[in-house]
Symmetry: C2
Amino acid sequence: MNNPYQYAKSNQQRFLDEYQELLRIRTISTQPQHAKDVARAAEWLKAMMLRIGMDRAEVILMPEGRCPLALGEWNGAGEDAPTILIYCHYDVQPAEVADGWDTEPFEPTIKDGRLFCRGAVDSKLHVMSNLKAVESWLASEEKPKVNIKVVLEGEEESGSENINAFIAAHPERLAADIAMISDGAILAPDQPSLTYGLRGITALELHVSAPVSDLHSGHWGGSVHNPIQALSEILAQLHDENGAVSVPGFYDDVAAVTAQDRALLEKVEPYLQAEWDDVVSAPALWGEAAYNLPERLGARPTLEINGIHGGYTGDGMKTVLPARAFAKITCRLVPRQDPERVLNCVVEHIKRIAPNTVNIDFKFGGMGAEAVLLDVAGLALKSAAEAYTYAWGVEPVFERAGGSVPITFECMKVAGDVVIMSYGLKSGRAHGPNENIYLQNFYNGIQATIKFIDLVGEGRG
Amino acid sequence: MNNPYQYAKSNQQRFLDEYQELLRIRTISTQPQHAKDVARAAEWLKAMMLRIGMDRAEVILMPEGRCPLALGEWNGAGEDAPTILIYCHYDVQPAEVADGWDTEPFEPTIKDGRLFCRGAVDSKLHVMSNLKAVESWLASEEKPKVNIKVVLEGEEESGSENINAFIAAHPERLAADIAMISDGAILAPDQPSLTYGLRGITALELHVSAPVSDLHSGHWGGSVHNPIQALSEILAQLHDENGAVSVPGFYDDVAAVTAQDRALLEKVEPYLQAEWDDVVSAPALWGEAAYNLPERLGARPTLEINGIHGGYTGDGMKTVLPARAFAKITCRLVPRQDPERVLNCVVEHIKRIAPNTVNIDFKFGGMGAEAVLLDVAGLALKSAAEAYTYAWGVEPVFERAGGSVPITFECMKVAGDVVIMSYGLKSGRAHGPNENIYLQNFYNGIQATIKFIDLVGEGRG
């Protein structure tokens, strides 16, 4: 077993068992009652990093008991060798059977070559693919020609506030020549893709109130602007009839979709359309008429309502005229849009259109990240493309992802060259019920990371 | 104690204690987990009716364990005497401290001459005012010159389906010369009012769905019509910019507001406006510009959204593009509007305006009641007016109530003449938090019912 590629192939079953062990830990960072689970996972990851032969590993506790980081280092390539930083997150979104799961969300279930579990694709797949690639290198006779830093975040699903503060305070801890951010998804099980752009994000809550307390809808209905109705009227004015956001200034700074973008993204369209038909399967496509599907999802900003509530929503009827209603809103951003500025545009627009028959109020969650565009001609992306070709036997296509990986922007501050490598699938239902991966993509991912470390070490691009 | 008026005055404290005992029973008819409480209250009421000297009392069980009726009869006035039917309901709306209560919702709390409790005004006040008036008569030497039937419903807040079926199957059980429906509210503590009109009601739920399951709003946002957004867009098209319902056909059969209506309702306006300022206290009045406040609340139909839900509404953010969203809607109806027809108009309008990018679906709760207009010159209303004048020392004004008392329509089938007598206040926050009554109105109510029985017995009008 002198070869990391062979080592990984010989240990697939054990790697899978360990991956499932991590999946069973309910690392829900948005729910305070799971803080202990998140902390336990961080210790589990530290122990694993030491066990696979890294020089050093530690759990970095965060202020106010927030979700910790797990850091690991291997410096065996020597002071003059380049350093790779591998970033993944081990926290997950909430999940309950009632959301529509066919299996227990935190019990990994293997069926027809797929593994179903919350966090399977987003993003414990990446945590484990990379740790097992590092293990495969360190267990082999031939050692990596690069030093390796691993940073595993526990707060990605709830704002990443503390890792950003940690990087700002200790940039040297994560400083590297190349940062590999391992998150997101590829297009198809047998078609790897390389993401060269990511949308940013900004978030707010809109609260509408009118009467001082809940009222009998018979006694007072017809004399007061129902807050649910007023909220609906406001929300209905955030898009025009062509699917574009109708907030003045929203598109002001948006970087145009270039001819190069169009050429790269065209190759992605059939894959995305097939996935849309399978995963989304809405009655019809919707969105900005002037842009095709990959452009709508990757190169154009959006305004999405993530939640709404008001009045009585339990069983039966309650003839209430509610005192208040609220909606949770996020905007996905593209390059050149400033999260703060976009947030202000939305707030000012809502203030302008809100009727004077109701009170409005905003809450801000502190979630904000700029969009990212990476250099498709850099060493990192070229090595990544070759690593995918090796592991999948197919050249990757290039795309711009709709999701946010806020850490990318932070990593660009501490690493000269950044690449995003994804091993899961868009059809993997990240954040939804029945989240899943193809097992083969886990094994391919390990091979791809081994190869990537190889290529960067050789200095080849 | 030969006089029912004196008897009632001498027993105020005991009457109040018994009223509070009933208030403590959580008779929430819309929540199956409280079915036992409702059944217990029915037995409690039956026992009280027997204790106060009625000839007969029983609990009528309903199909599928639904909330029972409590019936009582006193036939001491003889076969040739007229019969009064007194209707009240003892079930209540849900209530939780989290809704904004300053006290435990099911623990009666007396403060500054007021009593705070769920059901205090809607409608255990009426149950107890009337039972204690009957007790006062039966405990006196002089007996009523009318026979008395009492029907206490346990399902008014959740559709009254079974009492309607009971009346249809056994009309003789509730047959009477005059039906007194005791529910609703008067204008001010020292200004009684007589309701000669009630709005009807019809209800539906609108469900909107688009993707087959919840999605990651980053991965797919911008390519699918968000169900919360589509629902908001539909709801925003149910009213025009003048506060009128914009559903075609909605106003087709609406009885016009007559000159007599305008003259009667004009006297009510200052009271209603003062209560609006106190109870509603929204930033501005809202509604149909062509109608004043009492007309908007009593003589015009409305469409109200009672509840809305979609996506993630817990703590923190969940960047979900939800699979579905729904809203609960009720319409308040005025004379000549058919509940079924109005429901169809709303459904057809929504089907017409719903975009083809989403699926829509309806649920119907079976809640439907026509509006009612009573004869202001009949014996019942004239006796009621005199009874109010006796108990309050002030002549009542006439109004049309915004709420629905669906039983009124049913009682009109079994009684020649119908009157609605209310002892609570519009400011009593029925269905909302901190529901309350003025204790004095409880005592006045007992006196008014005693007088009403007196007057109807004398055949005076």
